[in-house]
Amino acid sequence: MSMLASGRGAAVRIVDLSKIYETRESEDVQALDRIDLDIEPGSFVAVVGPSGCGKSTLLSLLASLIPPSTGRIFIDGQEIRRPHPKVGVVFQSDMLLYWRNVLDNILLPIEIKHFNRGHYKEKAATLLSQVGLDGFENKWPSELSGGMRQRVAICRALIQEPGLLLMDEPFGALDALTREQMIMDLQAMWSRVGNTVLFITHGIDEAVFLADRVIVMSPRPGRIDLDLAIEMPRPRQWTEVHESPKFRHYVRRIREIFEAKGVLVER
């Protein structure tokens, strides 16, 4: 039952997925154009790309927050049409409910699914201590720093042992130091939980550092330009990895795509 023992990620299959946003005034926007993607259970996949490349659309589709225009999504072989119970989401901002304390925020998904809160209290405490927030159950969101709040949001996403964790630029709003710590903590946590992670970011470095696989996307229309396997041993040490030729090689390959597409321009 414990999340330490669960260690099972969900398999994701995306087939011919498109999303077109219809706008009343101007032309329709093709946010995603016929994406195919297979994600192995338990792998960490990062999606990088500039704003408007459809990476957040991809996440919303996986979370069933919006319907696809064409195509299908399967989680563990089952096509999804409504929010899947085995999917947890961490958004860019922590989205903590300010009228609930830390514990009640973490137990929100449990309440919504009408599970027994009592059964999950202990697990919430365990999760909190794993992210370095021992004994914070009764604190209020307003008493926490930005990094702490995002840690609580991660605990909330992990409370029901999601087979698939979706993260939408989760560290985008944090300062550089906090972000570095969070990246290392996320790696540690993921190696314990072993679930599948889809990590959306515009940070090339953090994508390469964290992921088994980096998907590079470009906008108008949103397409996959590169599917890069990151072959570096784990656990990855921050300094060691960032100074390694292999890391720099991966980062350069991704930058080359952006330069070729005109997303990054040298002046």
């Binding site: 409910l97 009228w99 609930r100 919504i112 307003s142």
Partner: protein, 259 residues
């Protein structure tokens, strides 16, 4: 050390500043009226107003109970009708389009101006007073509830929907708690206005109530009784306001944590 002591000293003064000022005004008033030779008919002293409050206490309480009933009934009706209406405006777009602009426009009518008409239609009893208290407190409740519901961050709705919440759960877990501070802001404005509505209603046509008592006092040049009634009306307003504020504190969990 000295700094710390001075700060404590400052906060002590700050706490006492308002009561001390009030006391000073009362003392000046008490002393200045006889000194200036003003007649007690024009401006009674605080002492004689206080005396009337004591001697006419049973009369005051009887009239107070009528007025309180009118205020609470009018306010209660405004909540019972205003909140569901606000929900309809929020959830049903055609209704919002059809009704909300009209309501905002109607809000510009000074409701007090309707008082004589209400007497024509509803007579001299409870009905016109309750109606006026209702009308005057209705709009702030509807508008603050709609604004509270609309102010919710879209992201929070997506959050609970990603957890599999239906609209019912979305409402009770997120929309309602997020709207409550604004809703209670409207309630607090409304309860103060409801007192005004009921009193105006009694001015226009009544056989009892605190407004009626004031008219009686006026007719008899009983300025001390008139002032005493003003005090009672004020106390009623403050008391009802604090009841709403108390319920708010119990309901809006830790509001100070909001920002």
């Amino acid at each position: 050390m000295a700094k710390k002591r001075r700060r404590r000293h400052d906060s002590f003064i700050e706490k006492l500043a308002a009561p001390a000022t009030a006391l000073a005004v009362i003392i000046v008033w008490q002393v200045a009226v006889p000194l200036s030779g003003l007649s007690e008919f024009i401006l009674p002293t605080p002492f004689s107003i206080g005396k009337r409050l004591v001697t006419d206490f049973p009369l005051m309480m009887a009239q107070l109970s009528y007025t309180t009933f009118e205020v609470v009934a009018g306010f209660g009706l405004a909540v019972a009708i205003g909140v569901p209406l606000a929900l309809a405006v929020f959830y049903w777009r055609p209704f919002e389009r059809a009704v909300f602009p009209l309501m905002v426009a109607l809000q510009t009518i000074p409701k007090v101006a309707l008082a004589p008409l209400l007497v024509v239609y509803l007579g001299y009893g409870w009905a016109p007073k309750i109606s006026l208290a209702f009308l005057i407190s209705f709009f702030p409740i509807v508008i603050s509830t709609v604004v509270g519901l609309q102010s919710l961050e879209k992201g929070l709705v997506n959050l609970v929907r990603s957890m599999g919440a239906n609209e019912w759960q979305t409402f009770f877990k997120v929309r309602l708690p997020a709207a409550l501070p604004s809703v209670f802001g409207g309630f607090k404005v409304a309860i103060s206005l409801a007192v005004i509505g009921a009193i105006i209603g009694e001015y226009v046509a009544a056989e009892r109530g605190l407004g009626y008592l004031q008219l009686q006092a006026n007719a008899r040049f009983d300025t001390a009784l008139n002032f005493a009634t003003v005090v009672v009306i004020s106390v009623l307003g403050v008391f009802l306001y604090f009841i709403v504020a108390f319920i708010e504190r119990k309901t809006v969990y830790r509001r100070e944590a909001a920002k």
